[in-house]
Amino acid sequence: MAGEIQNPIIRVRDITVQFGTTRVLDGLNLDVKRGEILGFVGPSGAGKSVLTRTIIGLVPKVAGSIEVFGVDLDSSSTSQRRNVERRWGVLFQQGALFSSLTVRQNIQFPMREYLRVSQRLMDEITMAKLAMVGLKPEVAERFPSELSGGMIKRVALARALSLDPDLVFLDEPTSGLDPIGAGDFDELVRTLQRTLGLTVFMVTHDLDSLYTACDRIAVLGNGKIIAAGSIADMQASQHPWLRQYFHGKRARAVMS
């Protein structure tokens, strides 16, 4: 990997994750810079979601260390950890909205738990978040089952952003969206990153997203990061999978 990054927001060192006897991640190292949008790619089943879930603490690791905001998540106290969790937002692949709460209640859920603010302010902030993710205010009183796939992703993003986190994890945010919707979503992530100064960790399969939204790309293969760098670095790489990925028919179509 190219030189150490100073003061990274996420520092992953020698992570090993194993399910039974299959080793999914094998001594993986990764740094994420403050304020960047990192696109994370790799073949299906390579463990992209596993790494995301390991960083946010949903999958136990066998070895290695993870630091987020300079806090080592293994040795941190409960309150430190709570503090870190309050500063990140997660967008799950399927949205993971609470199905028995309305959109408004979904977005207000973290605020209600972490902040002591008036209902009026929560309602106003909810409207602001909905506007930011490009949804109409009328959506607020609907239930998740009454939303389309694209709307679910947007609401999930609004919920991930509800506490104004410094870092968001997006797990395949544009999968299942039409190309125009996906393009809008990339644009949205870019805008939000600019306005809110976010750091974005984005697992994606979408070449368009990589080209238009990401500052840097990391590639996962064989349980390790096989390459990390700008899109130009990726195209120049000689790695067979990368060559196929970035010089395949679809990649050429996106670039032209």
Binding site: V117, E124, T126, M127, E141, D164, R194, L196
Partner: protein, 377 residues
């Protein structure tokens, strides 16, 4: 890095100038909200209004919105409040919140007399709907069963066997244990009270008739409604939520035939078996207590039992079992297929499945009691 936020008024002749400093972020939101509320009261008729944010160390959506809220409420008449000293970093955020439409419309529901009456009316009308739904499902299951009879190849044997294992084989230990204990309790109570009349031995009559005619099958049916009825509802309900049932339909399969029929059949076969095992366990438990507690030795118990009960008692009990199974299965499947998109709905329908299942089992038991009484069994 974080410093307490402040909002101070600076005197500037005819102008109203407010200077915001410190960290304007979500963590300080309660303080910020109070300060902004206080500042909003600063009325008067200034010629110009400025909110100076050049000293703000950190701003997020909460802070930006509160500044925007202050700006909006200070804007009176022709004098528009201005935000001054906005750094380039935050200007896009402030622009973003400026586009937000003011207060949201929140509907509040109030409880009124008419509303309550309406609710009662709807519930009553819903009862009719429930019964219609059950009959509908019964018809659909019978139709599917008939189709399977005509085309036996479309019968799902594997699925039926799988459900048999779930609702019958795996239920045996708990059913046997509970009915055994109930048998013990009935015998103990019987002996305790009959002893006063010196009629200890009649406990065998009571135990035999009660267990074979009523308790055995009723208790087992209630347990099966709780154990397997709820499982059916939850399974079908989550399949409904994840559009799996729609997927089946689009592939040209009938969900009733694929999902409901094997479950119903498994239940209808399982309940008589479980009821029989339950009755035997209860008799065994009762006999054990009669021997150890009442001093009725096993030989006397069996002799008395032979006199006290006839095959009619057994038939009366066991005939009810498949009918109760069908009722439980139909209720569970109707509720499962009625689940809507949310987790809450799944919970409600699973509860309804068990409650209605047990209710209908008891109703059926009453109907059977009247029927057998009138034919003299």
């Amino acid at each position: 890095m974080n410093s307490d936020p402040k909002l101070e008024r600076i005197a500037k002749g005819n102008a109203l100038a407010l200077c915001a400093t410190g960290t304007w972020t979500a963590s300080f939101a309660p303080v910020l909200e109070r300060m902004v509320a206080d500042a909003e009261k600063l009325a008067g008729s200034p010629q110009s209004i400025f909110i100076d944010v050049s000293e703000v160390a950190k701003l997020d959506t909460f802070g930006a919105w509160l500044i925007e809220r202050l700006r909006r409420s200070l804007t009176q008449g022709a004098v528009e409040a201005q935000i001054a000293g906005l750094s380039a970093n935050y200007s896009s955020l402030v622009d973003e919140v400026r586009r937000v439409r003011a207060t949201p419309v929140v509907e509040t529901s109030t409880i009124t007399i008419t509303g309550m009456l309406e609710q009662i009316g709807r519930t009553v009308a819903g009862v009719g709907g429930t019964v219609a739904g059950l009959i509908d499902m019964l018809g659909a299951v019978l139709a599917a069963g008939f189709r399977v009879l005509v085309h036996p190849r479309s019968f799902r044997l594997t699925s039926t066997v799988h459900h048999m294992e779930q609702v019958c084989w795996r239920a045996v230990p708990i059913i046997v244990l509970i009915t055994f204990l109930i048998g013990c309790i009935i015998a103990q109570q019987g002996i305790f009270h009959f002893r006063r009349f010196g009629a200890d031995i009649f406990v065998v009559d009571m135990l035999g008739v009660l267990v074979l005619r009523e308790i055995g099958v009723l208790l087992v049916a209630i347990m099966v409604a709780g154990r397997s009825g709820s499982a059916y509802t939850a399974e079908l309900g989550s399949m409904k939520m994840r559009e799996e049932i729609d997927a089946l339909r689009t592939m040209g399969f009938d969900p009733i035939e694929v999902l409901v029929l094997p479950r119903m059949l498994a239940l209808v076969l399982a309940l008589p078996i479980l009821a029989f095992l339950g009755a035997m366990a209860a008799l065994y438990g009762g006999g054990l207590v009669a021997w150890l507690y009442g001093g009725v030795d096993p030989e006397a118990f069996l002799l008395r039992l032979r006199d006290a009960i006839s095959i009619d008692h057994f038939i009366v009990g066991i005939v009810k079992a498949p009918v109760m199974a069908a009722v439980i299965g139909i209720v569970a499947c109707v509720e499962g297929l009625a689940v809507q998109g949310s987790a809450e709905s799944l919970g409600q329908h699973t509860t309804a499945s068990v409650v209605k299942g047990i209710f209908f089992v008891i109703v059926m038991d009453g109907v059977f009691a009247i029927f057998f009484a009138s034919i003299g069994m």
